[in-house]
């Protein structure tokens, strides 16, 4: 009655087992450790319970659950500040990316057909090179005795070197630089599909070139803008490398805080609790991504 199915259940088994073992199980363990008490030991936490099927043991466990880690999160304003700072930084960076990425994507989409693959490759190649190295390059540019300040001093635009490195501005520059391809490519994909006849029709109906852009091109490119914004916003919120190398002590983004709780303070329960909270905060945007991703193939079919 239904169309025959190709492939057996075996195809799904291997990836399913893998994902359960290396995605689901670790998250469960994080949840478990976030409910434990920290200790000076190796590993540096005291498990509140061992995995068991014994019902009484579970009952005892429920009584002994420690919410200490979560209390720490609420009690110390550092964590709330880090969370808000991450979201704010991600929002500002995403806005800047949209402002800078749109003209670039538009220019790419309107370049001669023959040169488009090369131009797209020119946008992509920096993305394929190490993020660490690209961020490192910005240190050399932004530091007090770096190239930017040398140029500004040479031109007489500033009297003393500007302190850019180790500020939020440096982090923003680094984020925009690193995530620009993520914003440009989805936008380019929708803009390059544009139908010249639609623009001609808009012009024919009396729209100025700019009017045609606002009334036709811009609305049609909104899905690409949404996809690009989500592709940037979510990873930026959890970003570690860029704020760590370019930002100062005043930029306590979530990724850095988890990192230092874990590696420096060795407080595993707090790091785990913070991870859980960060993931929960991002679930909204993540569900949005899913909805967008699910709609994509449907539109083609």
């Amino acid at each position: 009655m239904r169309p025959r199915r190709g492939g057996g259940g075996a195809v799904i088994l291997a990836p399913l087992v893998w994902l359960v073992a290396f995605v689901l199980a670790p998250v469960a363990i994080v949840a478990k450790i976030s409910l434990s008490e920290s200790a000076l030991a190796q590993p540096p936490y005291r498990p509140v319970f061992a995995w068991t099927t014994d019902l009484d043991a579970w009952r005892a466990v429920l009584g002994g659950l420690r919410l200490d880690a979560f209390a720490t999160l609420l009690g110390d304003p550092l964590y709330l500040r880090a969370g808000l700072a991450s979201l704010a930084m991600a929002a500002v960076a995403t806005g800047l990316l949209a402002l800078l990425g749109y003209p670039l994507a538009l220019a790419l989409a309107r370049a001669p057909r023959r040169s488009r693959p090369i131009l797209v490759a020119l946008v992509l190649v920096p993305f394929w090179t190490s993020l660490l190295i690209r961020t490192y390059a910005w240190i050399a540019i932004l530091k007090p005795d770096g190239l930017l300040n040398a140029a500004l001093l040479h031109l007489g635009l500033v009297a003393r070197p500007l302190a850019i490195l180790d500020t939020d501005a440096a982090v923003l520059i680094g984020l925009v630089y690193a995530y620009l391809p993520f914003m440009v490519l989805p936008l380019y994909a929708v803009l390059v599909d544009r139908d010249d006849d639609l623009l001609d029709a808009a012009r024919d109906l009396g729209a100025s070139p700019l009017g045609a852009f606002w009334t036709v091109t811009a609305p049609l490119s909104l899905p690409g803008l949404a996809a690009g914004a989500l592709l940037c916003f979510i990873p930026i919120t959890g970003e570690f490398v860029i704020p760590d190398l370019l930002g100062g002590a005043g930029t306590p983004m979530l990724g850095r805080v988890v990192w230092s709780e874990f590696f420096a303070n060795r407080d595993w329960p707090v790091a785990a609790a913070l991870s859980l909270v960060a993931t929960l905060v991002l679930i909204g945007p993540i569900l949005l991504v899913r909805a967008v991703a699910d709609r994509r193939p449907g539109r083609v079919a």
Binding site: M1, R2, P3, R4
Partner: protein
């Protein structure tokens, strides 16, 4: 010729048709794509399923190929119920509308694909591939990729690939639809000649009535999931069983009326075309005294000279337009019941004025009486 008919089985020769659909239905949710179809196709026949898009003809073909399983009824091939037999175990091959040539394989490798699955020894396989490519005149193109072929060549490559396994039945899904108009009739003739040469049973699906009439031994016409009439192209054209069939196979002029049977001699149809009833052949599908519909092909309507003697089944009309078509002239004639008829006047016949009254005659044997 690389083809031999399969030797007839020594034990218990199977009498009757090669393919039987027995009361087959296929449903997508509440919609019946195929609705209780029964059909038999004989060995060596070139059978064509014809109908508008969405009529269920492709679903019927796909159930034969095994890509769909019927919800009800059964499909029998060579006396064997095909229920539960997966596509790769069915002794028939299909030529896809898109041709579905494997883009990563050369033409020769495409043709060899099915033979590899049979586990044929290499030498035999190579020989067979070469023979198939010769058969479809692609022996110079064996090493090319499908995307380097023209449309017609691709069609022939797909044909060679489907025929390479010497299937009991070749299924063709709109085999000419992807070709441009000029190539279509030529390729159609080749297809017909090939079928006659190899003797394989062909079951073809098309929406193009000219194609079906030109190629098929017999045609089955489908409408909304049902098989409405099966017959040779001539029977379907001359003796359609319904207004749908009459209208689907070319142009037809219709007139509603009441049918009066008379045993022996001509029966009669009372219409608003004229006061006296028209003589017509006895109808097989309409009971005496019932409402009926009269159908006449445009080329069967004769135009009478103004001074011709009175003729049987004579009708009066007014020419509204005349279009010169080359081999004929098409008249649009306003009839007494208010309808426009189409009348084909062959070139060389007496010219007719492009407007004004005209005398027409319909030979009784040219009339088909159909249910209303």
């Amino acid at each position: 010729m690389p083809f031999r008919r399969r030797p007839a089985p020594v034990t218990a020769p199977e009498p009757g048709p090669l393919i039987r659909f027995e009361d087959v239905s296929l449903r997508y949710g509440p919609v019946a794509a195929v609705d209780r179809v029964s059909l038999a196709v004989g060995d060596g026949e070139f059978f064509c399923l014809l109908g508008p898009s969405g009529c269920g003809k492709t679903s019927l073909l796909r159930m034969l190929a095994g890509f769909e399983e019927p919800d009800g009824g059964r499909v029998v091939l060579d006396g064997r119920d095909l229920r539960g037999v997966p596509p790769h175990r069915r002794p028939l091959n299909m030529m896809f509308q898109s041709y579905a040539l494997f883009p990563h394989l050369s033409v020769a490798e495409n043709v060899a694909y099915g033979l590899r699955r049979l586990g044929l020894p290499r030498a035999e396989r190579v020989e067979r591939v070469a023979a198939m490519l010769r058969l479809v005149r692609l022996d110079q193109h064996g090493t090319r990729r499908p995307d380097a072929l023209s449309g017609g060549q691709r069609q022939r490559a797909a044909l060679a690939r489907a025929l390479a396994r010497a299937p009991r039945v070749l299924l063709l899904d709109e085999p000419l639809a992807a070709l441009d108009r000029r190539l279509r009739s030529e390729t159609g003739r080749e297809l017909k000649a090939l079928q006659e040469a190899v003797g394989t049973t062909f079951v073809m699906v098309t929406h193009d009535q000219e194609e079906a009439m030109a190629l098929a031994d017999r045609v089955g016409i489908m409408e909304a999931g049902r098989l409405v009439q099966v017959g040779t192209p001539r029977v379907l054209y001359e003796r359609p069983a319904s207004r749908f069939v009459a209208g689907f196979l070319g142009d037809v002029n219709l007139a509603e009326g009441r049918y009066a049977a008379s045993p022996g001699g001509w029966s009669a149809m009372a219409t608003r075309l004229r006061t006296a009833p028209l003589s017509c052949p006895p109808s097989e599908s309409v009971p005496a005294g019932a409402a009926a519909c009269l159908a006449v092909r445009p080329e069967r309507v004769r135009v009478l000279a103004p001074d011709a003697p009175r003729t049987e089944n004579e009708l009066a009309g007014i020419v509204a337009a005349a279009t010169f078509l080359g081999a004929a002239t098409r008249l649009v004639v306003r009839m007494a019941d208010g309808r426009d008829w189409s009348v084909l006047v062959p070139a060389g016949a007496q010219p007719v004025a492009a407007s004004g009254p005209v005398r027409l005659a319909v030979p009784p044997e040219a009339i088909a009486v159909l249910p209303p």
